[in-house]
């Protein structure tokens, strides 16, 4: 499987420098980026994990008090924004980056989280307020945290606002032969 991925990269490398100039070509490029990483049925495929997590969140967290402690409902809007963020990150990240955990939170937000070890992790918290709160621990390198605005209505603006998150994930999962930047 690794060999197939490597061959695929090499044959298609000429397309990666292409810069879309129109709205439709931008959409096509995004679709292509998502499909390129999709590798359906492979260990790189986020879809089964992520789709199952969103389904459980929809089923179990859309009523206030879903945690028995007064949690706010996870609304369709929050789920939709989180889906956009997840799939934008999927297209931005090197193939082979593991799927995140999706964790409903009591304040009505969804946390997208990657954990390599107890002191190497990154979490992004997504709500309906147009901001991402993030925090990460990188072992001896220390941690980072902050917030930044996002515009989930515009794919290109969303990609732009997720560049830092993608960079931080690169510190958790450095490129390897089987996980290469595209």
């Amino acid at each position: 499987m690794s060999l197939a991925i490597t061959v695929g990269d090499s044959r298609l490398s000429g397309y990666y420098d292409y810069e879309p100039v129109s709205h439709s070509s931008e959409l096509l490029t995004r679709k292509w980026a998502q499909e390129r990483n999709y590798l359906k049925g492979s260990a790189s495929d986020w879809f089964p994990t992520v789709d199952a997590a969103f389904r459980v969140t929809r089923d179990e967290c859309q009523m206030a008090g879903w945690d028995g402690q007064g949690a706010l409902a996870i609304t369709d809007q929050v789920i939709a924004i989180t889906e956009k963020v997840v799939w934008a990150l999927f297209a931005l990240l090197p193939k082979g980056t593991p799927a995140p955990d999706l964790i409903p939170e009591a304040d009505g937000e969804i946390c997208i989280s990657w954990s390599v070890e107890t002191d190497r992790l990154l979490s992004l918290s997504i709500g309906a307020h147009g901001k991402i709160n993030f925090a990460g621990q990188f072992g001896k390198e220390g941690g980072i945290h902050g917030w930044q605005p996002i515009n989930a209505a515009s794919p290109s603006a969303l990609d732009e606002s997720l560049q830092d998150a993608a960079k931080y994930l690169g510190r958790l999962y450095p490129p390897t032969v089987s996980r290469r930047a595209v």
């Binding site: 879903w66 939170e105 009591a106 107890t118 709160n133 621990q137 945290h145 917030w147």
Partner: protein, 108 residues
């Protein structure tokens, strides 16, 4: 993650002091005070030392309500003129550093 107490707006994280309790006693408390309010019973718990909380310059308010072992972790970063959705990353950062000292124990 802390939540705001609706009466005084203080940031609190509800915990149960489990030192000296048996596993059965812990889960009896859970059944009586947590499971009855939740759609599904708890499947496990996080266990960690109080020192991990103190190391983050947080404190415990052992209020003993609604059961004697109940306490709230308090002292979370707060700023009156900043919305919670711009403060949350401070709490996430503190939680991540505390959580690495915690272990998961599934319910038997």
């Amino acid at each position: 993650m802390p939540r705001r107490n609706p009466t005084n707006r203080r940031l609190e994280t509800s915990v149960c002091r489990s030192s000296g309790l048996t596993e059965d006693q812990v889960w009896t408390i859970c059944s009586g005070y947590f499971d009855v309010h939740a759609p599904k019973p708890a499947i496990g718990r996080g266990v960690g030392p109080a020192a991990a909380v103190f190391a983050e310059k947080l404190a415990f308010d052992a209020d003993g309500k609604p059961y004697p072992e109940h306490a709230n972790i308090i002292g979370w970063f707060d700023a009156a003129d900043t919305p919670d959705n711009e403060l949350k990353h401070f709490w996430m950062d503190q939680m991540q550093r505390i959580a690495k000292h915690f272990s998961y124990m599934p319910r038997r």
